[in-house]
Homo-oligomer: 548 residues x 2
Amino acid sequence: MSRILRLNMADQSYRWQEVPPAYAGLGGRAFTSRLLRDEVDPTCHPLSEANKLVVAPGLLTGTPAANTGRISVGGKSPLTGGIKESNSGGLVSQKLARLGIKAIVVEGKPEEADGFYLVKISTDGVEFFPASEYEGIGNYRTMAQLWKRFGRGVGVMSIGPAGEKRLTAASINFTDPHGRPGRAAGRGGLGALMGSKKLKAIVVDDKGTAPSVPLADPEKFKAAARKWAKFIIEHPVTGQALPTFGTAVLINIVNEAGALPTKNFRSGRFEYAEDISGEHMVELIKARGGRTKEGCHPGCLIQCSQTYHDAKGKYLTSGFEYETIWALGANTLIKNLDEIAMIDRLCDDFGLDTIEMGCTLGVLMEGGAIPWGDGPAAIKMVKKVAKNDPWGLIIGNGSVFTGRALGVDRVPAVKGQGLPAYDPRAEKGMGLTYATSPMGGDHTAGYTVATNLVKCGGDGDPLKVLDNPDALQCIVDMINARYGLSLTTGDVGTLGRQVLHDEISFNQDAGFTKAHDRLPAFFKENLKPHNVTWDFTDAEIDQVLEDL
Amino acid sequence: MSRILRLNMADQSYRWQEVPPAYAGLGGRAFTSRLLRDEVDPTCHPLSEANKLVVAPGLLTGTPAANTGRISVGGKSPLTGGIKESNSGGLVSQKLARLGIKAIVVEGKPEEADGFYLVKISTDGVEFFPASEYEGIGNYRTMAQLWKRFGRGVGVMSIGPAGEKRLTAASINFTDPHGRPGRAAGRGGLGALMGSKKLKAIVVDDKGTAPSVPLADPEKFKAAARKWAKFIIEHPVTGQALPTFGTAVLINIVNEAGALPTKNFRSGRFEYAEDISGEHMVELIKARGGRTKEGCHPGCLIQCSQTYHDAKGKYLTSGFEYETIWALGANTLIKNLDEIAMIDRLCDDFGLDTIEMGCTLGVLMEGGAIPWGDGPAAIKMVKKVAKNDPWGLIIGNGSVFTGRALGVDRVPAVKGQGLPAYDPRAEKGMGLTYATSPMGGDHTAGYTVATNLVKCGGDGDPLKVLDNPDALQCIVDMINARYGLSLTTGDVGTLGRQVLHDEISFNQDAGFTKAHDRLPAFFKENLKPHNVTWDFTDAEIDQVLEDL
């Protein structure tokens, strides 16, 4: 049976813990949020020894089911001061599951004068190594060196210079199937939390494990998994749009809807959207010899990732997502996709959240520190994060921090976190998500775009969205067959509500109130081209979480 | 009768408003907090047009009564995000009162591209002037130039480069009787609020006004004022200690009590306290030809201010307070009084809160950016605030901001504001003030030191302090004689509670909870030399405000 691995960074010791019954049915965000609620003082300083970093695969991770290999990372957020879960693709999740690890909990912290450490987990057990040789080194080189040292194909989660410096826009990056750091638990500055623990990287080697975790009812599992795969392949978004153009297929769609935030959320339409569109990206990739279809983890059928080469045909970046391209592009008026790709690459290498950095660059431009649309100036600025330069300390701490440094009051953020790629005035369901999610301004915590904009499953009420109920039943069937349970889709809803309860009560104890469930005042401005505004009353916003 | 002056910075217009009945009995902080509660949305961005800057003399300002010339400045704090009142000496308050001005309310803001403005108030009326010639110029030169332009002796309140840049540790400085900017409404970053209004300075000329505001009962007033003066002169603190050594008389006393926060609140005793004591300061002043006794405003009997010269006998700084000397001295381990005086002077000139800067330098040293006790390095760092240097943008935003830039979790602050000069473990009454004051970590909002440490009026319960009830009666008598009222000391208590109600409810709507009424976790450490700790339970802390 699977166990919890506790790493104590104060003395570089570890212990195995049986999974308590209350945690048995929890995976991913449900696990990380429950553990944080149970074990972390919500009022603690996020970088203090009292905080914990929790890493948890999903409930189906390690099975043969498609698209179940993502990983959740949780902690009290150094960026928002609230609870945080951020998830990622990469190799680590499935390997942890195969090693029978339900979750890793990183606790304590070494003396300030101590160097960084590296932890290796394999069937041989758990080992701590000094990591001074990787200090100050970016994720690209760190991961390459760790593959060289521990074998090609091992899973690595690591931080770059941003996380080492405990900058609160720092991400935790995960090796993709090619050993690159293009996948990240980006949001909420969890890289800074890992940095405060003096943990440079965790290497996960699953050599010697079975290809699948045990299944309680293999036949039922197989049937459900097959049906699940069919859903993915036959759905027009996951079966066609995403594999063809990547998530950047949304650039033209959202721009057409007048919801693509442009020039620090001044307009919903970007004049040069075509230049940064998924369609244009795919053209360039084909002409230059990259790859248009890649999975962020083994067993992904959607393949919305890609390898993007520069004009000379040399590798530039990978995992080049819609949110990233919007944030570093339309939001800053940078229209050259190669410049955007370079910033994305720097973010992956230094370990920085691309959405937060896009918002931050927008605020830098708003404050006049660099000119609007100036890609080379933005690249130069981002490079300072890895140098001994105070500008790096400013922008590496995100959009709200940078706004305060420059005295800018137009900062698109909720609960301290920069907003993602959908203007809340034109995409109101997302606005409600931004306002009310315990995660702060976040697009994954209630993604209404599929329903509101792409019209999957019909035109939905922004307050009540669910794409495909049959697919949900299928996921529940897989969970039941994996663990020998008899959950219903209703149970999943109950679990979801319980997760939100854990998170919201954590935030309340940390000092959050309904006053934090609000968008910045400037969203009262009219948004071009459709002249829409953010017109929900406070009472309407509060209604979102009322029936929990 | 007195009126409210409303300055609208959006179009540089103004209007006079009769004082509404509900405001008639309010002065100083009672006025500023009530107005903010009534007119400012607590959730607004402090630098947005929705915020207001309120400047109000006290109820007795402009009368012949001693020590009634201080001024209150209020606004939603750019530093804490909560309500703020900060007060100061200087020339402005009495002149406003004589001009019949109950308060100035600065509203709106010009376009970002606009330059700064200057407002002149006199018996001739109100005038706006462009202030581009003073932009980027420190308070010393600004005030000197304004005296030259508008006449020696006019009252000036102005911001320096820190306020212009909207840095959230920015102060608003007030001319002292010598035309120097040594007096400041320092705390809470109100200089940034004034900067966001593009208001460089207000000049107040009371030429042509009567020497005293009208008194309803001149004889009764005179009798009470005489008694009041006697209290001040005969009290051992205000009559002897403060006039002789300035407020820095406290350095040796608090150090002896083991409550002088040393090395970023690591110890309660500073090895070199003698070097930075009031006694040593007075020795140096006498040897170098400064002045040991000065009032921060005309009519002050205490005269705890001073002029401090450098080793060559040249003017260096003035208004060299205990809090300043502690913050820039013991807290940073800088033991050279001339270096401390130089930083104080730079803070006055750039318009920076000296307490916040002391806490910030401590955090900078904690994070390794400059060495402990290195005065020249600290001076060099503070100078960057007036330069185009990103370090200036970091430290100019205070201790919590600097802590986040450097990933330092040992930051002595409550509600975002750096703590003053009394370690809360050894001076527990002050600790309760720091924790519960709606102002954030602040020593003026419930000053228990007189009772707990200096033992004025006997040894008091830290939860229940009042120095001299006879003196309070005397103040009430003066207010009654000034306005023709018949208030009791009980009414004053009621008013005080009402002010706290206004402030606490403002903060609640701004998103503050009891979770913000807490000291940083590191105060659980034992404090040398007396091995005391911060051991109040949350329930005990909450009790402070329970009976309001």
